[in-house]
């Protein structure tokens, strides 16, 4: 245990020292450095930075756990969070880069010639980014308290300080180079345990292939077939076909995540950092290479972790693990409250089944066709988030691998937090202050304002991470819902419909956000306060069975429809705006991202 702690300190503080060194080397001198890294990032560097920016604590820690318990249903995250890059590469990034400005609200202002549109965009951006950041800050606190056994608040404070140093000092330039380092840390931390585990289970070290291979125990059974059998014998849904709330819900969920991804301002902003339109298209490709590396490993991590967990508790069908003989990782996670066992039948053995009642029930195994008696489930809590973090320990991997996972989790949380902070500070200092309130702000003062706003944003998000509001759990849905129902349609119509006018686009944005928020709140409670939902949060009350998390797709449709109807009644955009759109679409080089 002491050795593990030492390794973890070395891994965590070693990577922090690296981030500081990079920040000092790449500090920002101008607003162009601060907002778009001077426009001189290569597509491959940008792709890596987008990867780190995009893959948050949720991707690193939670996603494989979600897949482990949802099985096939977890595919919505895999397809949704990668398919958005196809939309970005073809529908948004190149044209927005051609236009050549610093921020997303600024693009909306130019295209829709309206300060209202710019302010609506700033508000959407800030709500989406702040809600997202709370999750990162919590991730930092949890990683510190679990791995280094320091106080949650102190861990959070250290994380805030580290981000402050390199984000405030370096702006986009510092953040970009730090994110490249963080990507490397993160991908090693994710894939090394996966390679070990895949090799242990199947003899194939490549997790993507291991998942489709036979088990190494000599049985000749495919890993996925074995997993299907094991889970169905315990009454759970078959792993490879388990649906998530029906095909329509999965469909809407996937679309919402795709267009939400394409509409997240902190991701779009990164495309303004490359020198040309061609480079913007290429960066989307590289981004997906680096993201795909983690996302194609995640299903293997999920399935293998689930199988390992099941095998630990019930190594042979009917021979359950005695609670007294539980392994060390089991005890460690029990301490955190994320794993909980109750010996309901008093036999001293651990029963992990789908039976949530207090009496045994008999089922027919859906694969074996055998009659099975299911004892009541005694694993009363198995938190999904522990799967990635506990995975190396469950598989008995060496201590340095576990230390690496801690550093990787922190890299994922910090890199995403920094990108979001930059999106927030630029939207306030550049769009709200320079663009609307005090247009005669000098470049030097704007840079100073950007740094002050970022410091305030760090303090606010740190406070919210310390005292997470009741709605923290539901917020990711809200962030994606907002991006999908407001920002993505506005940007897309701005490029693909020359005639789209400011009035029509603003009406569309308001309608899209309005209906999405209404739907989320009516099922999840107003601002997620329990008891204030006026329609229940369960399947039968949902509109065609679409869950609130999946509703962004409907919001986007409403946005498009409203905008086109309003356009019919209010007339097209003026000629000089149509010329602006022509120019965005035309071939040729983009100007360096500039101010006015």
């Amino acid at each position: 245990m002491e050795e593990l702690k030492l390794y973890t300190y070395i891994a965590v503080f070693g990577t922090f020292a690296l981030y500081f060194a990079i920040a000092w080397w790449a500090r920002a001198g101008s607003t162009s450095d601060f907002y778009v890294a001077g426009g001189g990032i290569t597509p491959m560097q940008n792709g890596m930075a987008i990867g780190a920016d995009w893959m948050s604590a949720a991707s690193f820690i939670s996603m494989a756990g979600l897949i482990a318990f949802l099985g096939y249903g977890g595919s919505v995250f895999l397809m949704g969070w990668t398919g958005g890059y196809v939309l970005l590469a073809m529908l948004l990034a190149p044209y927005m880069r051609k236009h050549g400005k610093f921020t997303v609200p600024e693009f909306i202002f130019d295209r829709y010639y309206s300060k209202t549109a710019r302010i609506v965009a700033v508000v959407c951006l800030i709500i989406a980014s702040i809600t997202y950041i709370i999750g990162q800050m919590k991730g930092v606190g949890v990683a510190f308290s679990r791995f280094l056994e320091v106080d949650y608040g102190l861990g959070l404070g250290i994380g805030m300080f580290v981000v402050w140093v390199y984000a405030v000092l370096g702006g986009m330039k510092g953040i970009t180079y730090t994110q490249i380092a963080q990507y490397v840390v993160m991908i090693f931390a994710y894939t090394i345990p996966a390679i070990f585990i895949s090799f242990q289970l199947t003899g194939n070290p490549i997790p993507q292939l291991g998942l489709g291979s036979t088990l190494a125990d000599g049985s000749g059974v495919y890993l996925l077939d074995k997993l299907d059998l094991v889970v169905t014998e315990l009454g759970f849904k078959e792993y490879t076909t388990a649906n998530l709330g029906g095909t329509l819900n999965m469909f809407a969920y996937t679309i919402s995540l795709m267009i939400g991804t394409a509409g997240l301002p902190h991701v779009i902003m990164r495309f303004f950092t490359v020198p040309s339109v061609q480079a913007a298209r290429q960066s989307a490709g590289y981004a997906l290479v680096f993201i795909g590396l983690l996302y194609t490993v995640a299903p293997a991590v999920g399935a293998m972790a689930r199988l390992n967990l099941m095998n630990t508790i019930e190594p042979v069908a009917g021979e359950n693990l005695a609670y007294a003989e539980r392994p060390q990782w089991f005890k460690d996670w029990e301490k955190t409250g994320l794993l909980k066992f109750e010996d309901k039948n008093g036999d001293g053995l651990i029963q992990y089944t789908s039976n949530k009642t207090d009496a045994p029930i008999t089922i027919t195994g859906s694969i074996s066709g055998k009659e099975i008696v299911l004892l009541p489930n005694e694993m009363v809590k198995v938190d999904r988030d522990i799967m990635v973090l506990a995975n190396p320990a469950i598989a008995n991997l060496p201590n340095w691998v576990i230390a690496l996972v801690a550093a990787g989790g922190l890299a994922a949380a910090l890199s995403t937090a920094a990108g979001l902070l930059l999106a927030i500070s630029s939207s306030i200092s550049h769009d709200l202050m320079k663009g609307v309130l005090t247009p005669d702000l000098s470049e030097k003062n704007e840079l100073l304002a950007g740094r002050i706003v970022m410091t305030i944003a760090i303090l606010v998000s740190g406070y919210l991470g310390m005292n997470p509001p009741g709605f923290a759990a539901g917020t990711v849905a809200l962030a994606f819902g907002l991006a999908a129902s407001s920002i993505f349609p506005a940007l897309m119509m701005g490029i693909f419909s020359k005639k789209m006018s400011g009035t029509a686009a603003v009406s569309g944005m308001c309608a899209g956000i309005g209906i999405t928020m209404l739907y989320v709140f009516q099922h999840k409670g107003i601002m997620f306060i329990p008891g204030t939902s006026f329609l229940g949060d369960s399947g039968p009350n949902w509109f065609f069975g679409i869950s609130p998390n999946a509703f962004g797709a409907v919001g986007a449709l409403v946005n498009f429809a409203t905008a086109f109807i309003v356009l019919q009644f209010t007339g097209p955009a003026p000629a000089h705006i149509q010329a602006l759109v022509e120019n965005m679409r035309a071939p040729g080089d983009a100007p360096a991202a500039h101010d006015h």
Binding site: L78, M79, T82, G83, L211, G212, L224, T240, F251, T254
Partner: protein
């Protein structure tokens, strides 16, 4: 002016092809047709399951690079014509 318009309509055509494939590999093979495809095995993977958790992502990657390549060719062609 005419150049610009043909460039744009060729771009739209390429996007349309890409998005059709994008839709088929993810929503088609991974969701709507998952059950019939699951009858086919790809190693230890059921084919529909493979598309949903692996194949769609590989296809997305191919699409973005193919689109970038096609557009570079198009950019060159129109840059020369305008000279």
């Amino acid at each position: 002016m005419e150049n610009k318009e043909t460039y744009w309509s060729e771009n739209i055509r390429i996007i349309f092809i890409c998005l059709a494939i994008w839709f088929v590999v993810s929503f088609g093979f991974g969701l709507l047709l998952v059950e019939p495809l699951n009858a086919i095995q790809l190693g230890g993977y059921k084919l529909g399951f493979w598309f949903a958790q692996q194949g769609a992502i590989y296809s997305f990657l191919g699409l973005i690079f193919w689109y970038g390549h096609k557009m570079n060719v198009l950019d060159k062609k129109y840059a020369q014509e305008s000279k």
